[in-house]
Point group: C5
Chain length 323, copies 5
C-alpha cells in the first residue's frame, strides 16, 4: 500500500508523483523523491523496481521480509533493513521491519507487519527545510534515528520490571516459580531486542567511520550519534542480561534454601510428635508392675510430662530458628 | 555413480560427454562442463581427476568424505565441501556431504551419503540461460544457494519444537526428565546444524569481500546473498542455543521447586497423622485414674478431638498451600 | 549553574569573564578559558554554545545527560563524557556525570547529578603554573585523572567487603540467604563501576596511541598514565567479578551440604524415636501370655531396654557425625 | 639414543653417516640428512648441536622437553615441538613429545617419552623418491602429518564413549556417580588432546598462509592439508566438550529428579504406615464405652478398615506415580 | 635500601659507584651501571631520578608500587613492572613487585615487599662476561627470566594439589565442604598467578615481535624464550582453572547424590520401624474378640511376624542399595 510519495526540492515539497510518476518526476534537474510503502503488493514493488531501477536481490529481500538488520551497498545505492518492535496486547514483543532503499535522488521506505508509521518523521523534516536540503542521506538518518529512538522505551520497561523483580526476590514467601517464569520471559524479550540492535550497531559503524557510502558522506556526525544511541541500548541490554543470569542463579539458591527451611520445620514437628508418641507408648505398655499407673496424679503428671517435653523441644527449635 | 554430465555453451546444453569425453568436449572454444556424481567409486574419481587435471589433495578429500565445510583455492581452481543435512526416519539428523570442484571451464559436484539431489538446481538453471551464461561461478553459487536453503526448514523445525517446550515447561505436572531429554536432543541437533553453517559462513565471507577468487568475481552480490542467508541461520541457531541453555537451567530450578512442594506435602500429612497417633496414644495409656475414659461420651469426644485436630491442621496447611 | 569561569594566560589567571564575556575574553592573543558548570539550565548551555561555537549534537548530549563514557571528536574539538560515582546514604552507588568540551583555547566542564566538584583540581593546577601553561589538554587530563582516582576507593571497598564475605562463607551456621543477597548486591555495584570504567578505557587508549587528537598531543605520557590506572581498576573489577561468581556457586553447594546435614539429623532423631515407639508398642500388645509383663522388674527392664537402644543409636549417629 | 641417520640425495639414500659423520656427509654438493633420536643423552645432543650448528635455545628446549606445541624460526632454521599422545595401560592418556629441527639440508627428530616411532614415515618416504626429492620441508610435513593422523583414533574413541554415555544417561537406575566420574575423565582426556592440537593449529596456519618460512615454501598445499586435519579434530573436540558440559548439567538435573522420586516414595509409604498406626492407635484407646470393641466382627472389621485405607492410599499413590 | 651498585665494562665489574656516583661513573666512555634497590626511601629514588634523569611518571609508579605487570617506553628508556609471588607462612600467596628501569647505559631494579633477591642473577651474569657484554638489554632479560622461572614451582604446586583433589573427590565419605573450600582457595591462588602472568605475556610479545625497543634489539630470541615460558605457565593456569570449574560442578552433583543416599537410608529405616509399630499397634487394640491374643504362642508369633517383616524389608532395601 502506498502511504506517501513526494518530490522535494530545495527542502520543500514540489510534487506528489504517486508510484508511477516517479521516474518522470526525477526528470527534474534537482530534488529527490521520498516514497513510503506499507505491506506492499508484489505489483507495487515491481513497478517501483522498474521506475527506480532497484537491484533485484534487494527487492527480493524487501518482498520476502524477515531479514536481519543490515545495510548493503549496491553500487552507489544502499539497501537497509531494520526491525520495528512493538508491544503486543499481552505484553509480548512483536517484530516488524522497515526496509529502506537510498539512492542519490530517492528514498523508499517499505514497512512490514508494523503499526508504527513514519509520518512524524516526514512532518518534522518538512518543518526543517535546511535539513531536508541535505537530501536522501538525511532522510535515511531521520528514519534510522526514529527506529532507534523507539527501542529506548522497550529497554526502559525491561529495566523497570527487572528492578522490581530484584527487590521482591529476597523477600520470604515469594512464588519462586512465577519469579523464574518472569525472568525467563524477560530474557526472551531482551533477546528480541538484541537481535534488532546488535547487527544494526555493526552496520552503523560503517556509516560514520572508515569508507562511508557516498549518500551518507555529509551525515558523518549524525550517524555517529545514532551509533552512540545504539551503544547505549546495547550496554543496557548487556547489563540486564547479566542481572537476569545472576538473578536466575540466585533464585535457584533461594529455592534450595527455602527447601532447607521446610525440611527443618518438618524435622522439628516430627521430633515433637514422635517424643509425645514415644512417651504415651511407654505408659501404654501392659506391665503389671507400673506403679505410676496407680498414682492418683499419674495421668495429669503424664500429660504434664508430655506437654513439658513437647514444649521444651518447641522452645529449642524456636531458638534454632527451625520453627 | 555418474548422475549427469553436460556441456553448456552460451547458456544452452550442447553435449552430454559422459565421464570420459570431458577433456575432449572441452576442446570446444567456449562453454563449460557440469558433472554430477553421487557416492563415486575410486575409479570414477580417478578418471575425472585425469580428465580435468584436478589437484590430488582435493580429490583425496572428495574420496574420503567426512570433511568440514570449506572452500580451498588450488591455483585458479576452487574446491568446496558443504554438509547436506537430512531428517532421518527417527527424526535424528543425518549428515551427508557435497564436494564441488570449480574450474574456469568446469563444475563437478560429488554427493556423499545423501538423498538430496541437485536436479532441481540444474533444471532451474537450464530454464534461465542468461544466468547459466555466467559460467561455473554461477553454477557454484546455485549449488551453494540450494544447500543453504535446505537448512532453513531444519532450523524452523527446531524453533517450533523449542517454542512448544517453552510453553509446556511452566505447566505443573510435567515429566521433567522427558523435558530435559528433549532439550538435550535439540541441543545436539543444533550442534549438527551449527557445524554445517559456521565454517561455511567463514568461507563465503571470502567469496564476496576482499580478494575474491577469479571464478566468483562476477558473482559478488550473489555470494553476499548466500552469506546473508547463512548469517540469518546462524543468528537463529545462536538464539535457540541460548534459549536451550536458559530453559535447561530453568528446568533445574523447577525440579527443585517441585521437590520442595513434595517435601511440603509430605511434611503436612506426616504432621496430621502424627497428631492423631499422639492423641490416640495418650488415651491408650493405662493409668487407673483417667476420668474421661469412663465418661459415656468419652470415646466420641476423643474421636471428635482427633478429627478436629486433623481438620485444623489440614485447613492450616491448605491455607499455607502445602497441600 | 555557573561554578567558575577564568581566563588563564602563561599559567596564571588573568580574568574572570563569567559566561557572557567568554568570546570577548578570547580576543586576547593567547591564553585559554576554563569554565565549570553544574546542572546547567538550557539557557546557560545555549549561551555557551553561542559564545564558543560548540557543536549542536554535543551540546544536546550535555543537555540530556545519561550518556555512556565516551570521547568524540568534532573537527579539532573534543567532547568527553565520564561517570561520577558516589556512595549514597544507604551504601548504594549513585551515578552522576561530567561532560567536558575541549577546544584549542577553552575547556568547559559540565557536571550533572553529583556532589563531587573539581575545585581541588583547579586549585592544584593554579599552584603549578608550569603545568597549566600546557593549556586545555592538561586541564582535560587533570579532570580525567581526578575522575579516575575517585574510582579507586570504590573498588577498594568492594574488595574489602568481598574478602570479609570469603572468610565468613565457610563458617557453619551462616545465614546463607543474607550471603547470597550481599554477593548479588556486590555484583550490581561492580556492574555500575564497570560501566564507568570499560568504555573510558577504550577511549583513553585513543588519546595516547596511534592518531592522537591535536589538543592532547603533548600529553601523551599523561594519558597513558590514566589508561594504566583504568587498566588496574579493570583488572580488579574482573578479579572481583570472578570471585563473586565462584562464591555464589560455592554458596549453592554449601546450602545443599547444609540441607544434607539437616536431613541426616532428622533421619537420626526419627530413628531414635521410632525405635522407642516400636519397643513400647510391642509391650503394649494385649496378648495374654506375655510373661515379661508379669515380672517384678519387667517395667524397669523395658524402660532400660528403650533407653539402651536409644542410647546406642544416639552414640552410633554421633560417631557418624549425623548428630 | 640414535634411531637412524641417513643422507638422501635425489630422493634416494646414499649414506648412513651416524651421529658424528653428519657435517662431513654434508660436504657433498647436494642432498640432505635425516636423523632420528629417541630420549637422547646430553652428549648426543651436544654432538649434534656442534655438527649442525643448532641454535642453543632450541637445543635447550629439546633437552628439557615438556614444551608446548610450537614452531619457532631461528634464522632460516625451524624448530618444532609436537605432542605424541598414547593410551596408557589403564586407558589414561600419556603425553610424549617429538621435537624437529629443520634446516636447509637436514631434518632432526627427537622423540621423548613415547613408544610411537616414525620408521613407517621414513619407509613410506623412501618408497616415493619423487616426494623425498622435495627435501627437508617434505620430511617435516610427513612427520607432522603422521603426528596429527595419530590424534584421530583418540578423538574417535572419546566420541564413541560419549555417545554411549548419552544413550545410557536417560535410562532409569543409572549409577549417577559413575556417570559423573566418566564425564569428568572424558573432559580431562579432551583437555590433554586440546593442549596438543590448539597451539599446533596456530602455528601450522603460519606454514601455509602469509610469510611462509623458506624451507616450507614448496609445501604450501601440504601444510594447508595438515591444518585442515587439525581444524577437523579441533571441531570434534569443541563439539565433545560442549556435549560433556551439557551432559554434566543434565546429569545434575537427573540426580535431583531421582531424589525427588525417592522423596515421593518415602512420602507415600510413610503415609500408608502412618494411617494404619493411627487407626490401630484409636482402637487401642482405653475408653470404657467403645461399642465396636465388643462386636463379634469388630476385630476383622478393624483389620479390614486398615487394609482398605492402606490399599486406597496405595492405589492413589500408584496413580500419582509416587510409587 | 641500596642492595648493590656496579659499573660493568666489557663484561667485567670495574667500579662500585654507590648511589651518588652514578652520573660520574657514566662519564666513562663505555660500560653500564647496574643498581639494585629494595623497598627504597623517597630520598633514594629522588637521588636516582636526578642522577639518571629518570622520567617522573615512572619514578612515581616505582615509589607507590602496586602496579600491574607492564613495560612502558619513555623515549628510548624502558620501565617494567613485574610481580614477585611468594608462598607465605600459611601457604597463602604474597605478591611483591620488582620495577626495572632500563636505559642505554643503566639498569635499575627496585624490589618491593619481597624476600626474593636477584643476587643469584648478578652472580651468574658476572660469571659469563660474554653475555654481560650484551649490556642492559641482557640484564633486563636475565631479571625477567629469573622472575618468570620462579612462577613454575607455584603452578606445579597448584597442579599437584589439584591432582590429589581429583583423586579423592570421587571417594565416598569425603568432607565435601572441605573439598569445596580447597577448590575455592586453589582458584584464588590461580587468580593471583594469572594476574602476574597474563599482562606480562602481553608485553613480552612486544619485546620480540614487530617494533622492538632499541635496548632489547639484540635479545630477540631470548625474549621469545621468556615469552614461551610464560605461554606454558598460562596454558597450565588455563587448564587448572578449567579443571577447578569442572570439579566444583562435579562436587555439587556429588553432594546432591550424597543427599539422595541419605534420604534413601532415612526412607528405608523409617519404613522398617513404621511397619513394626503398625503391627504392634494392631495387636494392641482392645477388641474383645481377638482370638490370637489368647493363643499360647500368640506373643512369640507376633514378635516373629514383626522380626520377619522388618527382616524382609531390610533385605529388600539392602538389595536396592538403599541401606
Amino acid at each position: 500500500m502506498l502511504v506517501n510519495s513526494a518530490l522535494y526540492d530545495d527542502g520543500r515539497i514540489v510534487a506528489e508523483p504517486g508510484l508511477d510518476g516517479v521516474s518522470e518526476a526525477l526528470q527534474a534537474k534537482s530534488g529527490f523523491v521520498w516514497i513510503a510503502l506499507r505491506d506492499p503488493t508484489d505489483d507495487e514493488l515491481n513497478r517501483l523496481q522498474h521506475e527506480l531501477d532497484l537491484p533485484p536481490l534487494a527487492v527480493e529481500d524487501a518482498r520476502k521480509g524477515h531479514q536481519r538488520p543490515k545495510v548493503e551497498e549496491y553500487g552507489d545505492m544502499l539497501f537497509a533493513a531494520m526491525h520495528l518492535i512493538e508491544v503486543g496486547p499481552q505484553g509480548e514483543l512483536e517484530v516488524g521491519e522497515v526496509h529502506v532503499f537510498v539512492g542519490a535522488r530517492f528514498v523508499v521506505s517499505v514497512r512490514h507487519r508494523s503499526q508504527q508509521g513514519f509520518l512524524g518523521v516526514r512532518g518534522r523534516a518538512e518543518r526543517e527545510p535546511h535539513l531536508l536540503q541535505l537530501g536522501p542521506g538525511f532522510v535515511f538518518y531521520a528514519l534510522m534515528d526514529a527506529v532507534v529512538d523507539r527501542y529506548f522505551p522497550l529497554i526502559d520497561a525491561i529495566e523497570a520490571e527487572l528492578e522490581q523483580l530484584e527487590e521482591t526476590m529476597f523477600q520470604h514467601g515469594q512464588d519462586r516459580q512465577a519469579l523464574v517464569q518472569r525472568l525467563f520471559a524477560l530474557k526472551q524479550r531482551l533477546a528480541t531486542l538484541r537481535h534488532a540492535v546488535s547487527p544494526l550497531l555493526e552496520v552503523t559503524a560503517k556509516l560514520h567511520g572508515g569508507r562511508v557510502p557516498s549518500v551518507c558522506k555529509a551525515m558523518h556526525d549524525y550517524f555517529r550519534d545514532v551509533s552512540d544511541h545504539l551503544l547505549r541500548i546495547q550496554a543496557s541490554i548487556d547489563a540486564a542480561r547479566e542481572t537476569i543470569v545472576s538473578a536466575t542463579q540466585v533464585n535457584l539458591t533461594l529455592v534450595t534454601i527455602d527447601e532447607s527451611l521446610v525440611t527443618k520445620r518438618l524435622a522439628a514437628w516430627a521430633a515433637i510428635f514422635a517424643a509425645s508418641t514415644a512417651l504415651a507408648g511407654i505408659w501404654g505398655m501392659n506391665f503389671e508392675k507400673m506403679p505410676e499407673l496407680k498414682w492418683a496424679w499419674g495421668y495429669p503428671m503424664a500429660l504434664g510430662a508430655i506437654v513439658l517435653v513437647s514444649g521444651a523441644l518447641y522452645w529449642r527449635f524456636k531458638r534454632l530458628q527451625w520453627l
